[in-house]
């Protein structure tokens, strides 16, 4: 369980950085491809696999962000509800 938590934290830390790294790499490939499309920096087997990795990273990031937002909103809602009920009790 101890290791599971560590792995979870590492994955959560790695996900946004993976997206940043691959995003920056793909912007570079796009510029290179614009300058000389014949070399096919965006159109080869390696970048095909990298693109898949980029998609997976972003998908997981999106799910993580959505769950965090959902959690945060839930917390906020519960907090607002409890303050309202406290207010009502004091009144």
């Amino acid at each position: 369980m101890k290791y599971l938590g560590k792995i979870k934290r590492a994955v959560i830390w790695l996900l946004p950085h993976g997206s940043i790294v691959l995003g920056a790499a793909f912007i570079t490939f796009w510029i290179l491809d614009y300058l000389n499309p014949m070399i096919g920096f965006l159109d080869n087997a390696i970048t095909d696999w990298l693109f898949l990795a980029f998609c997976i990273f972003n998908l997981l990031n999106g799910i993580l962000s959505a769950s965090l937002v959902w959690k945060h909103m839930g917390k906020k809602k519960r907090k607002a509800e409890s303050t309202e009920s406290e207010k009502a009790e004091t009144e």
């Binding site: 790499a25 614009y34 159109d43 080869n44 390696i46």
Partner: protein, 374 residues
Amino acid sequence: MKPESKRKKNRSLYLKIALIALGDLLAAALCVGIVVLFHYVLPKQYEDNGIVIAQSPEKIADMFALPGEEGFEENPKAGSGSHIEDDLTELQENLSGAGSGKKDKFNTTNTGTSMVEAELNTEWNTMKTTVTEIAKKRTAHYDLTVTKREIGEGDDKVTYFVADLYVRNVQYLRTAFARGVYGKNIRQFPDTISRDNNALFSISGDFYGNSERGVVIRNGVLYRENVADADICVLYLDGTMETYSPSAFDGEAVLKKGAWQAWTFGPQLLDGSGAVLDQFRTTSYLNKENPRCAIGYVAPGHYMLVTVDGRDDGYSRGVTITELAQIMAKLGCQTAYNLDGGNSACMYYENDYLNRLSGDERAISDIIYLEAEE
């Protein structure tokens, strides 16, 4: 909290963020470096030896007469001679069996198209072109005349070399791979490839080894069949040459007609009847004035191979794609196709370059050449 300790804390936080950002940037650079290394640098020889799609070009030998010979026509139409038609019918029957059995369909992997509008250089209409003959060779199989041409003055001057070539048969217009093998990132200097193949004359090809996509047919052998997002040029056994946009390319029909060479670089320059196209499949960056190489088709057996020098003010500024198309149209070409240019643009004749290379000699993956003959 004291303001000083807060500032200290903020500073260490910024430092931490900067270090993490730097780490990400380095990782991105490493990622790009690995892709460049595997995709662009490390040579890889393909085990695929290709599929022979035009086994017997000898069968149609002596299709065309050379200038000055009996039966020579300045602009013969393809297939106008009955003996040519007979030979080709037989050959095409063989080809339809050889090609279709193994390679069923050409894969199309278009990723989008960038088109640039043609901008004609109207100043050239009133300018005089100086023409100097610099090489001439006539053998039993071909007639080659190379001229140096200059147009414009000062920083606007353009110098280019035109090889006016007549061949008896397309088999004499050959191509060669660097180190004699088909692969990726296998490169050699054009003069070395030329010497290795006993070439009298050569120009750079389409640098097929830079990419994994694009149709590659060389000397009647089909090596690669996927269609990239670039125009394609096909030289047929009947001596005709046609250029295609990726969407108009029909691989089966091309194999059936009998392709001898196919290049993927482009763009195509003329519309098939000698007129400059309105749009070119290229980017505005690549459309700038640069050294260029092109192949043009005048009539079956008659071709123009052109190398334009560039990046050298006062000698030659280079040309845009439209200007290259104008040059090819002026030479009387019906169809023309841009080949690998920039530092690759070269014209080799008898152990030396005729043109002035625009920078360091670049190792390339293929050439178009004429074999030396007595």
